[in-house]
Symmetry: D2
């Protein structure tokens, strides 16, 4: 590849300290299926941030896998999930949730976030029981598909609404690291104001791996059967444990997310200086500038990225993603190139 | 752990050359979802051995995942799988196949293998259509759960039977490396006499990874949707590609399996010299000696292994598994210890 | 019940000639599971109108059952259905289609009908394979949930679009009798321009029963397994056969639908004369007048019906349904009562 | 058909008093979906026999439907059902239970009945969690597929075992009427010693219909969603209610089952007098005589029945089924014919 890619935050391998720890522990014999000592240590480190000793942690390989396992474990067959129309489970998982038997009730949203009032509207459309599905779980992403994040008070509002309406709250945290760096919310807050969430590793420096965290006791029952049954229980569970150990034993997870966010802000400011409009505000590591098509073509000479949304005949919103692996100098070169081409 | 473990072939990490290749390629940007160049190269190397340019290769993370994806992709909802009662899909996957909607029709077998006559009997019990399921796929494991393997003529007989009865043939190759080292069958033979099979990485030196190989054209259609929908498509597909590249670019896969098998033979011979009976003949990397319980307790002081089957009040069959990672000197020490305790 | 109910077209039992035929044949011994002679005769009579000897007919008990059986038989797990947002499968079947594993892609529609251009838009949103579902089947209702019907040229346009885009076309005909009476389309046209459809009995004079008709040969394979597996194969299949025999042996099906439609027109004209607006044009046996809430309350003294949609603080659209069982004099009384109260 | 059929107990329509009640109530307007007054009355009559006011009753159309609805409502995805290998759900429902995602763990049984010890053995094979399914529900049939029945003490033993092992107990009562006539068990006993059961109508005089009865409160939650979602909720639920009303308002259900059983005993005694062996003892309305093939051929001239099991080259066990509709004189003629041919 000759162009530098801003297409996503999983174009590189993993942070070198993960490879180091894999190498260092490689020939130690360990129990399989997540019963290795590294997985236990990693869970310990995560627990220190959760401030909820009752929370239960499980490692799986990827986000779609985490979503389908959690949702199939939480819902009975007639129950449905409420999510933003732009949610990953609605648009980007090849029908994984429906394949588990559940309908996704969608809410239109400009910024990828949903509010209690939106959820209430969905509930209001489901009074004609038993001819309709029974909405039972609210799914939110933080950061969202559009890079926005929830504030603590927004999260609390949703959680309290869910409690009041006998709904579970599940947070997809494929990019939770990025969200935590910019908001007023700690991991302990997430553990307090969700029933289940997951902490993404794949998009924040791991080769693969997401940590599912179940805060509500009754939802923890038999959860490991679901991991096994859906094909997500790695014989060498150490692979996931070691990675989360490297990420959480001394703050690497936070640093990597911070780095990605910072570079996104840098690009955003460069855009602002040139008066470029954004499709959505840049809050984490995704920037959605609306650019003239001619400029997009110029940028493509040296950079790779997604064309996200055609705005009109002349303008298109593109998506640029920074990551733990993006070098600062590359961002500077990109800005210089951009400024030259505009 | 103070005891040495013969419990399984996934107690260690991975062959060091895999870690090397991961490190070496780590910061190169690549496409996600298996579209990286390492996956393509790995598929090329595997293809050279398949001798079937039409075969299609897909990498996934583990065996249960491979089984449920293949079976759900091949069968319509009313169709069932025929397998040995000891088959992994029947006993060890937490109902993964049934969770995809399909019944497993089982065949009792002493050595884990099934024969055309067994399959015919199952078919004979399913004439009362449409009140019964429709058996449509035959699942065999090679090596089997009991470490036995199929000869080429046995495989051909099953394949021809399947062709004649409009059944698909799927081989679970979680330990196919081990089977290929001891039989008269090449990878090209497997590609010729199965519709689908997979080549196990996890139990032969990889951190994780199985290569699903689809030989029949009509079964290749839309297969990637299934990988995505079941949560098995890694964002960093390179993780799987790089491992299979390391295993297949210069014969490492064969060497590792050969090593494991050789050490198993060494243990088996030591047992034979002492007149120990085996539950099943040792053909690959698993040994099932039937030992007095007192001896088993002595062995446990220094070694870890599964007690497989209680034979009577005094004797139990244990399972010892060797692997690519088992050092020869450990086997020699074990034999010496065994000889001392017997 | 003291009020007369215009709530639906299934408030009464069945047309008396069905009861007569049930009684007349009651003690004749017959094969079970739809292999009785009455089912065969009924299929013969339906076939005479289909003009397609290759079409295959199956009887089941109800509409949701027909929908879930057809859709699960036609689709592979990664494939989805395209339907109007108001479609019965989308809103009124408790997630039956998702419970079979399939997503429903919805299209907003004012009158319950969809057009090739709508379908094209859905397809355009599903290019990012394999991360999205694969739309494979178009579901239309005729008459629709809003009582509108498709013209022959509209149906042909959809069918040709489906053919060109490798999509199946399935028509939900729970109220097909009503639609056929008002349009320019014959049953033979439906058999020609759909892949699968069903002819509703429950809402047109039967106690229960829908006739699924499969016109495309490849979709007929093993269909009876699906009927059995979903619990829809009645031991006494004669119950369905006898009813369709009574409905189709001498034109009763058409007469009953015609009767229901005529009475709906009568009510509609009475409304028009008073300047009442309709939510949707009355084409078949459903009338959706928009009435002041005070008038609605007056009508409720003597009549039962659904309040369909709140239009504003003062007006609500109600739904009145006529049926094969509605006596003409009741309609006349209703109109008189309405005219008095307005 | 010129031969008289002893093939099953659903060869005729329904008891005439059912047709009478259908006719008598035919044009009364009623609510749909089981909310009609006849369904309520029928439930009242059944409740009087249950002696458990908390039990909840739901009507559905057939046995496979009842089984798949109950099992999918009771189990989470990783849980399985324990049943006799001869159970209807294991052999005769086209994989309906697996299609809902659940494995059926089978127990070999000569007489179709299972015992606590059998269940314990299944549990013992499922300790290796979470790699195995979790058995959670015990399914028994009463009468069984072989016409045998459970005594009250046998039922209590199973129920107490289930209670002690945190298992649900579900009784398939497709032929419960027949079983109740010969055993020492009342309907109140069944309601006391099962969690869920159903009372079969189809095989005891109804056109179609089974009454599912849920005795355990927590299993009643949201059950109606399952009836709807699986396509089992009839728009004209009255069809089922009216039939159960006719069967239960003055003892008809018991009389019909008694009649069928009596005629079976008559045939059995005639066989015994001729020294004919039976495959299983005749307890209800099924007789399984083991006859020479030549005699079977002679009987076929005038009678239709199933050849159940080939015993050896010369002998075959056949199945004769009597029903509410079998006239006594036909049985007498059959015995005379049999005595002449033997």
């Amino acid at each position: 590849m000759t162009q530098y890619s801003f297409k996503d935050d999983y174009s590189e391998g993993c942070h070198p300290s993960i490879l180091d720890l894999l190498a260092q522990t490689n020939l130690l014999q360990q129990n399989g299926y997540g019963e290795d000592e590294f997985s236990l240590q990693a869970k310990d480190f995560i627990h220190r941030q959760l401030n909820n000793p009752a929370s239960k942690i499980h490692f799986v390989s990827g986000g779609t896998q985490a979503n389908l396992i959690v949702i199939s474990a939480l819902l009975r067959p007639h129950e449905s999930v409420i999510a933003a129309a732009s949610a990953h489970i609605s648009t980007n998982e090849a029908g994984a949730i429906e394949a588990q038997g559940h309908k996704v009730n969608t809410i239109l949203s400009q910024d990828g976030k949903i509010k209690p009032g939106d959820i209430l509207q969905v509930l209001a459309q489901h009074h004609h029981t038993p001819h309709v599905v029974k909405p039972k779980l609210v799914y939110i992403s933080n950061a969202t598909e559009l890079g926005t994040h929830y504030t603590l008070s927004e999260l609390k509002a949703i959680y309290e609404f869910c409690q009041a309406h006998d709904l579970y709250l599940f947070m997809d945290g494929a990019r939770l690291g990025n969200a935590l760096q910019v908001g007023d919310m700690s991991l302990a807050d997430v553990a307090k104001y969700t029933d289940v969430f997951y902490l993404g590793g794949t998009k924040n420096g791991a080769l693969l791996g997401e940590a599912i965290i179940i805060n509500r006791l009754e939802l923890q029952i038999d959860f490991d059967f679901f991991i096994k049954q859906k094909g997500a229980m790695l014989a060498k569970g150490r692979v996931l444990g070691i990675q989360f150990l490297a990420l959480f034993q001394d703050g690497l997870y936070d640093q990597l997310a911070h780095h990605a966010n910072q570079l996104a802000q840098k690009i955003k400011h460069a855009m602002s200086e040139k008066g470029i409009n954004l499709l959505v505000q840049t809050e984490t590591n995704q920037i959605f500038p609306i650019l003239p098509n001619s400029l997009i073509n110029s940028l493509k000479e040296q950079y790779d990225f997604h064309e996200w949304k055609e705005m009109d005949d002349e303008f298109t919103a593109i998506r640029l993603v920074t990551s733990w692996a993006t070098p600062e100098y590359v961002v500077e070169e990109f800005i210089a190139f951009f400024n030259k081409k505009i």
